[in-house]
Subunit: 400 residues, 2 copies
């Protein structure tokens, strides 16, 4: 069971988590609990490090930040003991959870599950701080922000757990954001692949790399609400265990992108490389790309999207290369939004893309760029059309 920052944000919430654990214990489960830092604590520690230096030592950053999860672990274990439940905290170095790679952004490479199993067999609830491990140099390491999900999956795998429950502040994964579409429904089962497409597109329930890790290790995830633990939540599992009765599973959207258009690009071999290589060299990820035939048949318009944060950087790079690439005009637009339909079911249903474009057309929503994967079709639309596009697609594919 993993409890995120909002689930343990206060002493009262930690007591609530202890109650959830107590009930689960009564079902006869052996429990390893992974906790995040209390909401706000990590940000406060990061601020402290920044007020010392913007280039604060990575090694000491890990020593600093890991204290947040340590505090939650001690408080929760103490709370369980107070309820008469055998419990203890086990920190990253005590287990140990061994990591490799750079400080501040390590990867878990092994978990010595014996130490934890030993206590589980003595019927202890073991409370483990997420996000932290220990490097081979015996120094505290952390595995990047949101890393408690990765800790939970790694522990579930190492302990050969029957299930891995991720407790958060929502009831599960929804067909779309309930805040902008009140017809949104909770999804009972979703595949890892779909979850990855949903998550990277804005359904921020679980960290993507942790979903990937769960997929690779076949760890079944249950996303549940800390505030309504009796509800069934959403199960994340492999595609072959799901029978798809719907064409698509959900509608996702994100407002993290910006559109860049180069007009009047000379249509000659190597021009795409001339545009995209310098962007790639500067770590700018290009997502959607479309190339239109220009009125002048020797020229073409190239449109693509980058992360909104990278737009100015991309603009500068391309401006400097104007003569080299040979284009007439550079346009940028950050008032755009990416709306996607996601579903493993679409593989077996033809005409999904047509149905999507048609639905948007009836609402007069202009599609700026299109991109697809096997289980996803994304369109770039004007930011002001986001809500309407999401609602339209949610309804067109009968998700309500």
């Amino acid at each position: 069971m993993k409890f995120g920052g909002t689930s343990v944000a206060s002493i009262d919430r930690i007591k609530n988590v202890a109650n959830i654990i107590e009930n689960k214990k009564k079902e006869g489960c052996k429990l390893a609990i992974i906790v995040s830092a209390m909401a706000g604590v990590t940000n406060d520690l990061v601020e402290k490090s920044k007020s010392i230096s913007n280039h604060f030592s990575n090694e000491e950053y890990d020593v600093l930040l890991s204290s947040g999860e340590q505090v939650t672990s001690a408080l929760l274990a103490g709370c369980l003991v107070d309820k008469g439940i055998q419990a203890r905290s086990m920190l990253g170095w005590q287990i140990p959870i061994v990591t490799e790679g750079q400080h501040k952004n390590s990867r878990i490479i092994s978990v010595n599950s014996k130490s934890v199993q030993n206590y589980l067999e003595k019927d202890y609830v073991v409370v483990i701080p997420g996000f932290q491990g220990i490097s081979e140099e015996m120094r505290i390491s952390t595995i990047g922000r949101g890393g408690s999900d990765a800790s939970a999956v790694a522990l579930a795998k190492a302990l050969d757990a029957d299930r891995c429950e991720i407790y958060t502040d929502v009831e599960g994964v929804f067909t779309t954001n309930p805040d902008i579409c009140e017809q949104a429904k909770k999804i009972d089962k979703i595949s890892y692949d779909e979850m990855l497409e949903m998550a990277s597109l804005g359904a921020k329930v679980m960290q993507s790399s942790s979903v990937q890790k769960a997929m690779i290790n076949d760890v079944e995830i249950y996303v549940k609400s800390t505030f309504a633990p009796e509800k069934s939540g959403t199960q994340i599992l492999s595609e072959d265990k799901i029978s798809y009765d719907k064409v698509i599973t959900g509608v996702a959207y994100s407002r993290d992108d910006a559109k860049v258009t180069l007009m009047g690009v000379k249509d000659k071999p190597g021009v795409a490389s001339a545009i995209f290589k310098p962007l790639n060299d500067d770590n700018i990820v290009v997502d959607m790309i479309v190339q239109n035939i220009s009125a002048d048949s020797n020229k073409t318009d190239v449109t693509f999207t980058v992360k909104r944060d990278d737009m100015l950087k991309a603009e500068n790079i391309l401006k400097n290369l104007k003569s080299e690439i040979g284009y007439e005009k550079l346009l940028t637009d950050n008032k755009v939004s990416k709306v996607s339909i996601v579903g493993a079911g679409m593989i077996t249903y033809p005409g999904v893309a047509f149905k999507m474009f048609n639905a948007l057309a009836t609402k007069k929503i202009n599609i700026l760029v299109i991109s697809t994967s096997e289980i996803r079709i994304s369109v770039l639309v004007d930011d002001k059309n986001t809500e309407l596009a999401v609602k339209t697609l949610h309804s067109a594919f009968e998700l309500e």
Copy 2:
């Protein structure tokens, strides 16, 4: 160098500490730094544990509280690195600092100085969280509140350090409290014994058990101010290294005591035991005792002091034993204050007690009880006379 909670209370103060360390480093010193939690942090963590339970698990209490010093260590080490100084934090379990005894109140039994020496030889400044260690069961332990002083002395001993500097928010140990006697002067050198008498009597510069430990291990202590590090501070060392030109070294006082009087106690063998054994059984420490001959020659009055916090408890115990002890009346008074003169010099000067009592008498200050040690004479006075008594004695023994 040890820096207490107020010395590291904010990021700015941590930067100040880094400057002090930088200057010391320039003198060519090899430095191990012991830090406390930022002022307020430990209390906040204690409050959190209390809002879960008044009987919060001792083991988890140690995991919880040790995070405070961990945070300071990381911030200070990061700050030093940022200044271009080679530095790293080493936590209790990384060194390790091994403790024994109960959680929440452990004792340091060994420090593996090799790991620290190894980094000192590579010219690193090693930053070590005070107050924490690791038990033989590999669990985090703490050595009681104020324990960072003990950590500093233990490290100084283990590293065979040339000196142990305790940085605090005062310039050193004073002849008396400057807040109530403006003639108070900083003491240049004071013996461990004198320091112990001063500290237990209210001059709260350094934790008494740490002074004891320094005395046993012959670690020379320098108490200095974090806010005026250029000043010489007070040196605490063994008596034989000090030449005493004054009869007394300082005047201390405390308001932690209460007076209990049993009037009309039957003067028979075993009566003292009947009074003090039950108090001792209930962990009540009796400090000063005086017995007066009563008007009725078969009876006597017994007066003694206990900690003010224990007064009600003592009163209840004695009330319940009224017939057993056989006394007529029980009086208590918590409006009392203990004023002491302390000085190794008094051993060789006769008439010190007379001089003290005489000085108080000229100011019409009534002495309620008296107690002495080899290097201390204490009197109990009315609380309202505290300030006058301190000033009178400070002047009578020419400490200004």
